[in-house]
Amino acid sequence: MSDTSPINPMAHPPCKLACPILTDVREYVQLIAERRFDEAFATIRRQNPLPRVCGRICTHPCETACKRGQIEEPIAIAALKRFASDGPWKNQYKPVLPDKPSGHKVAVIGSGPAGLAAAHDLALLGHHVTIFEALPVLGGMLRVGVPEYRLPKNVLDEEIQAIVDLGIEIKTGVRIGAQIKLSDLFEQGYKAVFVAIGAHKDRKLGIAGEDQFEGVISAVSFLRAVNQGQNPKETKKAAVIGGGNTAIDSARCLLRMGAESVHIVYRRSRDEMPAAQEEIEEAIHEGVQIAYLTSPLKILGEDGKVSALKCIKNELGEPDASGRRSPKPVPGTEFTLDVDMVIAAIGQAPDSSLVADELGLTERRERIIVEGPYTLVTTRPGVFAGGDAVTGPATVVEAISAGKRAALSIDHYLKGESIPAIEPAKDVEKVSLARSVVEKTRKFPRCKKISLPADQRLRGFKEVESVFSEDLATKEALRCLHCYLGARIDAEKCVSCLTCVRVCPLGIPTTSKMGEITIDPFACQACGVCALECPVRAIDISLDPRTEIAQDIKKAMSTSQHSGPVIVGFFDLHGNFDSSDVENLRQDYPHVLPVMVFGLRRIDTSDILKAFECGADGVLLARCPPESDPFPEATDRVKRRMAHARALVEALGLDGGRLEICDMPEQGLVQKELIDGLIQRIKEPGQVRSE
């Protein structure tokens, strides 16, 4: 469900603010890092009814905003979403329907991402929803626009089924406006309608030969046919006109259907191309040729069929209304491409003619007018509209956002309440990190996505990208810099001792002349050194607060049912281990009670004593391998603190050997010999430690 409270840009990470549905990216990335995959999925799924779709085809504005992008490369957020949403744990998530239905019937026109998201949220709000879909299949553009190799149909089927299972009634093959008017729906007892009919109408090229020869086809019709398993026309050499994602999708489909050569003809240069960069790269990788700065002039034909495309080269002139430099043809540069097929992919528009007599439309009579982008109220009471039908072609996550907003507006409307125009997050300016912080931050390369080799791709429509392995996913999630989850100072407790200023590995805390300490919550990366060293406990870290570490120790101790020596094991999440290693540890060594932390930097002497105090017979601290440690400079500090802890333990008359500090192995949590040695020393105190 959507959050209706106003957004305070100072409290939220840039990934969240960049997302149209304000996905709690940071939270689920952190849960993946903690190997809590089911909770990561639940976090995603609560806000997004189509997580597996978004994990594959979202344009991920979150990644563009990611702070890591200022260091080397952003977190692979979309790939992490896919990892969290594809795993077997996804089936554990069960949305909770209200006990009592509202008794209201709501019609949703269109089953694309906007319609599906609205239906989902409306059902969760207790309303009875019926989806009307003109096509025989559900999914809108997700079904008939996005090719199988980017979004497998079975994935879409499963996501849609989970939404339908909320008790949503489906009526396919019904074209609202033609067979049934909007007014009829109200007569049938529907109290509100959400129009989300998408943008399925292709724009014409407007050049000679377009309507004359066989072999000229619109991208929407082409992709619709391909996505329904048909081959509209055998082709050897094809040209696709346009530079958006639809053009790229069409070109990549053509290669998979056996075309020998595919040219994309685009009038501007690559910099202006609206298609996603990675899609362009994949297309080129697969063999699509792109003629930049080229405009089609005329389609030529022989025997009633397309035979060639006459083109002209352009140069870029002054920026146009869209801010992009407008192409100007260069006289004398005409040339022809021998092709037997031309696909027009120069944009789509909503097919609003069917609702034109009932709803207000924009001047070109294409898009449906809404009162505001947040209420989605149309000119007709009880009718709301959103998605591509209102905005023109946009992204899947924008459509989902519209659907969610519509659900909220409709809910208010049905309750007879005024519809709040939710203040959008103000366009948050990208906050730049200080150069010194960028330089001091340890670089970790972004995990590469795993793709099919190009030759295997073109044999069919098999999905190109694979899901991250658990290993890669946790590694990638651990690259997160935890914006706004870092150090918080309690001004009442702070005594201006300057310890934080002195220990921060990134030099982030600053002091005024009067000793007022400031820690930039955006720049801080939550290493926790200041929180630990602060002598008056005036600082804590939101990532894993000290109180939580203390609770984790108590919780771990309370789960102990073993009669043998009990060992509290602090493990650094940055180690190379997976959930099976944790499970194996539990089985092999029920003595060892694991407490997972984002770095041993977080563990103080008092935490170690606390573990002993709670009844532990031994304490194990496992450092992550140095190559995985984001703050290796703190290692020496950790070691010296442990020496202090050991001295204190010995002063207490305990064998110092009960405290073991070790490095984690290359793979796994801890070497068995180390645990065995620790257990041995607990049983027979006074033995010499191996270190």
Partner: protein, 222 residues
Amino acid sequence: MITLEQKKFEEIEKMTKGYSRLLVLGCETCSAMSFAGGQRQVEELASAIRMAQKTSGQEGEVLEDAIARQCEPEFVDLIRDKLAGCDAVLSLACGAGVQLLSERFPDKVILPGCNTTFLGVTEELGVWSERCAGCGNCILDKTAGLCPIARCSKQLLNGPCGGSMNGKCEISKDVDCVWQLIIDRLARLNRLEMLEEIFPVKDWSPAGHGGPRKMVREDLKS
């Protein structure tokens, strides 16, 4: 600031033995900044005492608290209620704080958890050094801003002595000869002629040699 050092645990353990309800009380200014007795050290020490008691089979309770400064009666009085049920307090303040607790709570056992060391500066995190002896009569204007009372092993006023070797004091190669530093600094400031003024015999009465010191400001007191 006043620097402090927590006593060795063995000593603390011995002095806290036998109390059934002990309050470990931190002092959040100088002692905290010396990493001797702020909230963090209170947690650590209380935990250690509890464990020591457990090991020795002693039944008892160890409470934790901290106040901004144990040298101020108003702060000290804020723990009166908490103290009511305790039979002893382990104060992690300087000697001044410990004694104010003793004065405010005449019926309680007050124990010192720290040794008060000196008036000094932080050289870097974890390193402090003495700069002022609190002698009550500052002469830094005449000694290039470097104090021979606090920093000369013999507290010489007309140094250096014959034990100054290569800028170091004869007591240790790690101790700078402050008179060498004074001369170097006066040379740098082009004020070497100041050394020609001979210090008379120092009057140590403001330094406490005339008995315990007390300061009264008639304009301020109530």
